[in-house]
């Protein structure tokens, strides 16, 4: 079996440093809430609907209490009080919070304990809804065959959810194991979740509950037809991370892109905001058994993939530590990395294999997400197809778990039906033809691949030492990741962060934290 030398002591030190970095983040997270977190909680308690101009009911309610300076107590505080005042159910209580003539300033009776007690039954119902979706998924999956790793992951991106459903079914019939519906690029910066089916999206569709259902229905049909479970992926990222995670958890999604670091670096979302949002989103994700995909692979689209490979590894250690603190099991952590080196660099394939194998060995229980070349793709579709085949070869030799297939038309347009078909056909060939190659070969001791792996781990350790010394907040500020700098209070969404009061109430989160 081909392995690279791994200094267990160094790996342990990396994990130790990542734990300290994550603890520092967690201390901040535990003292704060956000408008996004509070909206997610209200959704979980049954809030529904929009007001037209004012946006979703949850936005109206949360913005109202935020403006009144009351959000530090948590929306549950006021939800519990509304229930005690006689609201029929949580949904009606939330409508009171949004639209009642007077705002509840939370003064006087009842006691905090009474408020918490009033939420016991609704909290159980909110959890039961997530658990039921999980059981339904598990039962359905149990009847069908599972894909073989590396799982073949493709995207659909027509901008019309009904066209996406057609493309998703076509992809399933061509052998796709996972279908991701690309989200409209603008959504990451929307501080509300749109409603309904998208038919006119730009650069993708919105992540809405209805769109989730349309695709789940299509993939359930395809799964039945082919006797093989086809997974659904969307994006729990941007300013509505937690709300989307909750939606996905009740609509039986299988995977979510979920990575605060990605939002901070590539969408300029405020780091305080998104790290708090991420924590709560991952609590929903942990409960529902969804697999997260993290976005470290993107660092290599802006930074040099050869020189900055260690930043990806360092970030994977940090993401693992953060995910563990949100209750995720390692089997739910699809840590990301990518095949993004300049293909014309001599021995680039060896360096890619070294990185892939190193990642595989360090994160051996994790469903590693392996991303195809994009940055060095040109309009030469014929070379591009070969480039992707080499990526497939590296993926199967190093047994990556989730492989996002390269598209030969990457630099040109959204994948056409035939582009996806040919990508799947080529990958089936390479994976099949080389299925056990990794078991048959060994990497030369002291060879290029072994030495590269040793070097990247060493550099990742050095970077983690620095990041721990200066804290993640400062490290991001000086451009340690992806060569992009972000300030602690800069970026979008910082105004939506609130310090928790001593009387902060959130029984749902407390229950999720019990695991």
């Amino acid at each position: 079996m081909a392995t690279v030398p791994l200094d267990a002591g160094k790996v342990e030190r990396c994990r130790g440093l990542a734990n300290e970095i994550a603890d520092d983040v967690q201390r901040y997270v535990a003292r704060h809430t956000t408008v996004g977190v509070e909206r997610a909680v209200l959704r979980a308690y049954g809030a529904q609907g929009t007001t037209g101009e004012g946006g979703p009911v949850v936005n109206v309610a949360v913005d109202r209490y935020a403006k009144a300076g009351l959000l530090g107590r948590g929306m549950c505080h006021f939800l519990g009080r509304a229930l005690l005042r006689g609201a029929r159910d949580p949904r009606e209580a939330i409508e009171w919070l949004a639209f009642s003539a007077d705002i509840d300033h939370g003064e006087g009776a009842p006691t905090l304990q009474a408020v918490i007690d009033a939420l016991a039954t609704p909290t159980a119902a909110a959890l039961a809804r997530i658990d039921a979706a999980r059981l339904e998924r598990d039962a359905f999956k149990g009847r069908l065959a599972a894909g073989v790793t590396p799982l073949k992951y493709v995207i659909v991106a027509t901008g019309n959810i009904y066209d996406d459903a057609v493309q998703a079914k076509a992809a399933a019939s061509a052998g796709a194991d996972i279908v991701a519906v690309i989200r409209a690029t603008a959504q990451s910066l929307l501080d509300y979740v749109p409603e309904g089916a998208t038919t006119e999206g730009f650069g993708g569709t919105f992540a809405t509950q209805e769109n989730f259902r349309v695709i789940r229905r299509a993939l359930d049909e395809a799964s039945e037809l082919h006797g093989r479970y086809v997974m659904q992926t969307n994006y729990s990222s941007g300013l509505c991370m937690a709300e989307i995670a909750w939606m996905a958890s009740v609509e039986r999604l299988d995977m979510l892109l979920n990575d605060a670091m990605y939002g901070i670096l590539f969408r300029d979302i405020n780091m305080c905001r998104t790290l708090v949002d991420q924590y709560v989103s991952r609590r929903f994700i942990a409960r529902s058994g969804i697999v997260i995909n993290t976005g470290e692979d993107n660092y290599l689209t802006t930074a040099n993939a050869v020189d900055k490979a260690h930043t990806v590894l360092a970030s994977q250690f940090i993401n693992e530590a953060l995910a563990l603190r949100a209750g995720l099991r390692r089997e739910q952590m699809g840590l990301g990395h990518a095949y993004e080196m300049d293909p014309w660099l001599e021995d680039s394939f060896l360096l890619e294999v070294a990185q892939a194998q190193l990642t595989r060995q360090i994160f051996d229980q994790h469903p590693i997400k392996w991303m195809p070349p994009t940055k060095h793709k040109t309009g030469d579709i014929f070379l591009s197809h070969v480039h992707d085949a080499m990526f497939d070869l590296a993926g199967v030799v190093t047994n990556q778990s989730i492989e996002l297939l390269g598209m030969f038309s990457e630099a040109i347009h959204n994948p056409l039906l035939m582009d996806r078909y040919l990508a799947l056909k080529k990958t089936r060939y390479v994976h099949g033809a080389c299925r056990h190659l990794g078991d048959e070969i060994e990497f030369k001791k002291d060879g290029i691949i072994a030495n590269r792996a040793i070097r990247v781990l060493g550099e990742a350790l050095d970077l983690l030492v620095e990041v721990r010394r200066e804290s993640i907040w400062e490290a991001i500020g000086r451009g340690a990741f992806a060569d992009i700098k972000r300030a602690r209070t800069g970026g979008k969404g910082y105004a939506g962060v609130f310090e928790r009061d001593a009387s902060y109430v959130n029984p749902l989160l407390s229950e999720l934290e019990k695991g």
């Binding site: 076509a170 730009f202 650069g203 969408r267 940055k375 035939m418 060569d483």
Partner: protein
């Protein structure tokens, strides 16, 4: 196919000159069958291919076939009869760029760039502006002569105009990557109109870049120049220098209409 009086018609070159050989790949919503094969063949013939060979027909989805067809294209093209708006900027060396700016401007050239509208893809603007550049060609930030403000992604037209004004921009770079239903065109055109309306369009050089952008499109949308796929930072640097600090001997490039 009438012979042109001005030049020789070019046909596609396959194995031998003028054989017109091309291939097409496409999908038809038909399951593979003899009828589907004949449909693909006729479809190719309608595109001007003679003796089409359906090299591949296979099911690529339920009720859909993927075809690869080879054939001899009947068409020929006379390149001398074509008039295209082309950016004719000589690539200048880094030293020349720096020297010209120093000598003719006597200050740094201020460049403000952004990916506008809902577009979140900064890959293009980053490749041109950021220090690291693209394909070994360092970005504008790496020149002493440029003062660069990269505003990143999802910048609204109003905000870009405001910030460019505040920075006293000599040039504004607009990047449009997302092209669904031509939203890149509308958005870019709206920006040029906005500057017109605000009355300072003529005070800046306006550049448009993106995978579906070419110089002709940029002119049509009210920009001064367009840069498509494969553009290197030094191409943009050279253009800006030619435009803003021309060599005295050379005539100033004409201001484009729009």
């Amino acid at each position: 196919m009438l012979p042109s009086p001005t030049g020789k018609l070019l046909r596609a070159y396959g194995d031998r000159a003028d054989d017109g050989m091309v291939q097409m790949a496409f999908v038809l919503a038909l399951a593979p069958s003899a009828r589907a094969r004949e449909a693909a063949k006729r479809f190719a013939e309608m595109h001007g291919l003679s003796e089409p060979i359906v090299a591949t027909m296979e099911a690529c989805a339920d009720g859909h076939s993927f075809f690869v067809v080879y054939g001899h294209s009947r068409h020929g093209i006379d390149p001398t009869a074509i008039d295209v708006a082309e950016l004719r900027t000589e690539a200048l060396t880094r030293d020349v760029v720096e020297h010209r700016i120093r000598a003719r401007m006597g200050r740094r050239v201020v460049v403000v760039g952004a990916c506008t509208g809902s577009d979140a893809h900064t890959v293009g603007i980053d490749a041109i502006l950021n220090f690291k550049g693209y394909a070994g060609d360092k970005g504008l930030e790496s020149y002493k002569g440029f003062e660069v403000y990269n505003l990143g992604a999802q910048v609204e037209n109003d905000a870009l105009a405001e910030q460019a004004r505040a920075a006293h921009a000599d040039a504004i770079l607009v990047s449009q990557v997302i092209t669904q239903r031509n939203c890149h065109r509308e958005n870019a055109h709206a920006f040029a109109l906005l500057l017109e309306r605000q009355g300072w369009r003529r005070e800046v050089v306006l550049l448009l870049g993106g995978p579906r952008v070419d110089h002709a499109l940029a002119l049509e949308l009210g920009f001064d120049a367009g840069f498509g796929p494969g553009t290197r930072p030094s191409d943009v640097a050279s253009y800006l220098v030619e435009r803003l600090c021309p060599d005295v001997a050379a005539p100033t490039p004409p201001v484009s209409p729009g």
